[in-house]
Symmetry: C2
Subunit: 251 residues, 2 copies
């Protein structure tokens, strides 16, 4: 499953919890696309999610923050556990050995690992994608165009998206994925991507503005093809009160 010495050698001085790992779905929003950060394994064309093991002396959440910091350069990331992947055989071990045979000895891998899934919502513009010790490249992918991934990582992304859909009304998803200022069409596009369906623009705007959590700025977005829509930002206090009450459900 995962090499026992997953961490970079110079940092690998704390023992690890055996057979337990985490996987991170790091999401950003850019050019009206929901994007996920993927890693390409050394000397292969094989991609997977960022992840890794948990040290005996760190909490599971701290391990997730550490891995996110290493991959993005950010240390104030909005982060949420969403599911534990605990099947006995999560994927074909033989297939992974074949695909990654040049990289390391399969005998170093646990027969089985349980993985805790986290999603992270980041400000795309602030991320500095950085590969780990086993990978050559760290890159954003449009969520609608991700390739066939190693392990069970395509499945993990699908489960993360379902969690995002379920949590749209009680987690600060828009707040964390969008830049500080945005247009209503941009916010609608984000909702449509997460929900995987089209929304009626007039209904969307009417219901959304009815929540009273957005503040319209006296500025318009320039350079659009047809219109110059107003910029908005979240009224943070009202947004957080709405999330706490759980009454931001409007779609």
């Amino acid at each position: 499953m995962l090499p026992e010495s997953w961490l970079e050698p110079e940092k690998n001085n704390a023992p690890l919890i055996p057979q337990l790992t985490l996987d991170c779905i790091i999401l950003g929003f850019h050019n009206n696309q929901l994007r996920v950060l993927l890693l390409r394994w050394k000397n292969t064309q094989e991609w997977s999610l960022p992840g890794g093991p948990i040290r005996q002396n760190e909490s599971v959440n701290a391990a997730a923050q550490r891995i996110l910091q290493e991959r993005t350069g950010l240390d104030d990331i909005f982060l949420q556990q969403f599911h534990v992947f605990g099947e006995v055989e999560r994927y074909s071990r033989a297939e992974i050995q074949e695909k990654l045979k040049l990289i390391f000895d399969p005998e170093l891998w646990y027969e089985r690992a349980v993985s805790i899934g986290y999603y992270a919502l980041v400000d795309y513009s602030r991320v500095n994608p950085t590969p780990d010790a086993y990978t050559d490249e760290c890159q954003w992918w449009d969520i609608r165009e991700i390739p066939f991934l190693l392990f069970d990582h395509n499945h993990i992304i699908q489960v993360a998206l379902q969690a995002l859909r379920n949590q749209l009304s009680w987690q600060p998803i828009g707040y964390n994925l969008l830049p500080h200022e945005f247009t209503l069409p941009e916010l609608q596009k984000l909702y449509e991507t997460i929900l995987d369906r089209k929304l009626d623009p007039r209904n969307f705007q009417r219901k959304l503005l009815g929540l009273g959590i957005l503040e319209r700025l006296p500025i318009r977005r320039k350079g659009g093809a047809h219109k110059s829509p107003y910029l908005y930002r979240f009224d943070k206090a009202k947004y957080e009160a709405g999330l706490k009450e759980g009454n931001l459900f409007f779609i």
Copy 2:
């Protein structure tokens, strides 16, 4: 944390995943009370949640189903992961050793275990509470009157209740906790208990009936103090469609 030989000896023939356990919040609704199933440890007055380790040859979900079956006698339980408890030191080990010293050798316990929290929603009337190998008694407790529990189990219950609150509109919580037929005041009481606040009866009934997921039966509940309210049941097809769409939010 947890004994390596947690399972009953005669069943303990499959190796366990080290340092990983699960805890189950088993909830039932009876006499207008939300109740949770707790275990009393042998020859003590100490209570905790049901739980246990995961075998190398079973999935995490299968382990949860097995533990629930052992404690309740039921094998068709609605079950949901809700959080991973992954702190390095989840509770005072010295305190546990002191409280449970007559029961087993602390050297058999892992220094640290990560616990996966599940909540289970059961039909109260069908449960046959059954202690495990380390406990004398398995009993329902009103969620508002639970005692000080061993380990971090009071905390785990609080986190489970918060998850239930967040998930009221997209998990079949009422459907699984209530008997087949129920009155609107009973359903309101369940919502009030989970949300931990009073709801206006007229608003509650108007909004709830507006969802179109309840079917009124031509029968009234007899024996009430003042009124004889009608019995209702869920229209399962409409309820499931509503859950899938995520549009059962009305509180």
